[in-house]
Symmetry: C2
Subunit: 185 residues, 2 copies
DNA sequence: GATGAAAGCAGTGCCTC
DNA sequence: GAGGCACTGCTTTCATC
C-alpha cells in the first residue's frame, strides 16, 4: 500500500466523487452522462478511485427516527491519564461500544469526542451507565443532545474539488504539506 | 394521526438495512443472497424502504486525506441571543458555509455544534475568519481538532435491529451477539 | 477514451404458499 | 400479503483498437 498519492486526482475525478457523494448507487451509464464520459470510461475511473482508496466504500443513509433512534448525543470524554497505555486501553474498549457511531481523539479541553445514537432518554441512561461510564480511565463525561439537525452532508460539494492554487504564486502550501502530526482524518 | 408508523420494519428489513449500511452498492442479487431472499423479493423490500424514507439515499465514503482535507474541526458556537429570530438567521447562514459538513442545535453549554473539514491550518484560519466568525449573532467560537479518528461508522450495526421488547414484558429474544466489526475506521 | 460481444443484473407479470 | 420463477431489456465488464 503506497501511502503517497501516486497520481493526483484530476477535475473529472472530482466530478465523479461529487456525483457519487450525492448518489452512491449511480449506474456507470448515468455517471458517465453526468461527467460527460462514456460509461466504460466512467466505470474505469470509478474503479481506480476505489482501488486507490479515495473512495473507501458506499453506504446507505438512514432516517434515524424511522429506525427508532430518536436521540443523538455528542459525548465528550476526559481521561484520568493521557499516558499512551491509557489512551490505547480506552480506544480498544470504545470501538466495542455498540451504540457508538463516531469517536475521535481531539485537541482542546477534552480528550475524546463521541457521537452516540440512542432510542430514548431511558436508553441513554442505560447506555451511559453500561457502556460509557465503564470505559477504562474515564475521568469525566459531558453529554449534549442534538435538538435539531440543521445540516448534514457527508462532504460539502465545495470541498470535492481540486485544491485551488494558492494566491501569491509560489506559495504552494495548499493541500500537501500537512502530513506531519495529523493522521488521516 | 395513525400514519406515523405505517408498518413496522421486520427482522428482514433490518437485515437489509445492515447489509446496505455496509455496502450501499450491493446488487439486488447479492442482497437477496445475504438475507436469504430471492433477488426480486429483496429488491421489492429495498424499494419499499426507500419509498417510505427509512433509506434516505446512498453515498460514497471518502478518504478525506486523499482529497486533500487533512483536518477536521469540531466547532462549538454560542450565540449572543437565543431568540428565535437569531437562531433562524444563524441557521440560514450556516447552511451556506461551504466547508460545513454537519451542524446541529444542541443542548448544554453551547448552542450549535459543527463539523468542518479543511485542508490545512492556513485553510482553517481563512475559513474561521471568512465563514465562521462572520455568521450572524455569534458570540463565541470554540474549536477542537480531530487528531485521530478512533472509529467511524454511519450507524452501529447493533442499532440496526428491531427495538428490543420492553423489559418485564416477556421478551427472551435478546441474545444478540455484538461481533460486528467496524465497517470503516 | 471508444467500441462491440458476452455475462450479469434489474424490472415486470404471473404463479404458489 | 409475501416470496419465488421466468422472461425481457439494460447494464456492466472485458476484450480490442
Amino acid at each position: 500500500m503506497h501511502e503517497s498519492v501516486a497520481t493526483p486526482l484530476d477535475a473529472i475525478d472530482y466530478r465523479i466523487l461529487q456525483e457519487l457523494s450525492g448518489d452512491g448507487r449511480l449506474s456507470d451509464v448515468a455517471l458517465g452522462e453526468r461527467v460527460h464520459l462514456s460509461s466504460t470510461a466512467a466505470a474505469r475511473r470509478r474503479k481506480i478511485l476505489e482501488e486507490r482508496g479515495a473512495i473507501r466504500g458506499y453506504t446507505a443513509d438512514f432516517d434515524f427516527g424511522q429506525l427508532g433512534l430518536h436521540m443523538m448525543a455528542l459525548v465528550s470524554i476526559e481521561l484520568a491519564s493521557q499516558a499512551e497505555q491509557a489512551l490505547n486501553e480506552f480506544e480498544t474498549a470504545v470501538v466495542r461500544c455498540p451504540s457508538m457511531s463516531f469517536c475521535s481523539f481531539v485537541s482542546g479541553d477534552t480528550d475524546f469526542m463521541m457521537i452516540v445514537h440512542v432510542r430514548s432518554f431511558e436508553d441513554y441512561d442505560r447506555i451511559y451507565r453500561s457502556e460509557l461510564s465503564t470505559l477504562p480511565h474515564v475521568a469525566r463525561i459531558r453529554s449534549s443532545f442534538v435538538m435539531r439537525r440543521v445540516a448534514s452532508r457527508p462532504v460539502p460539494p465545495a470541498l470535492l474539488q481540486p485544491p485551488a492554487p494558492q494566491p501569491g504564486g509560489g506559495g504552494g502550501s495548499g493541500g500537501r504539506s500537512l502530513h506531519h502530526g495529523l493522521a488521516r482524518v
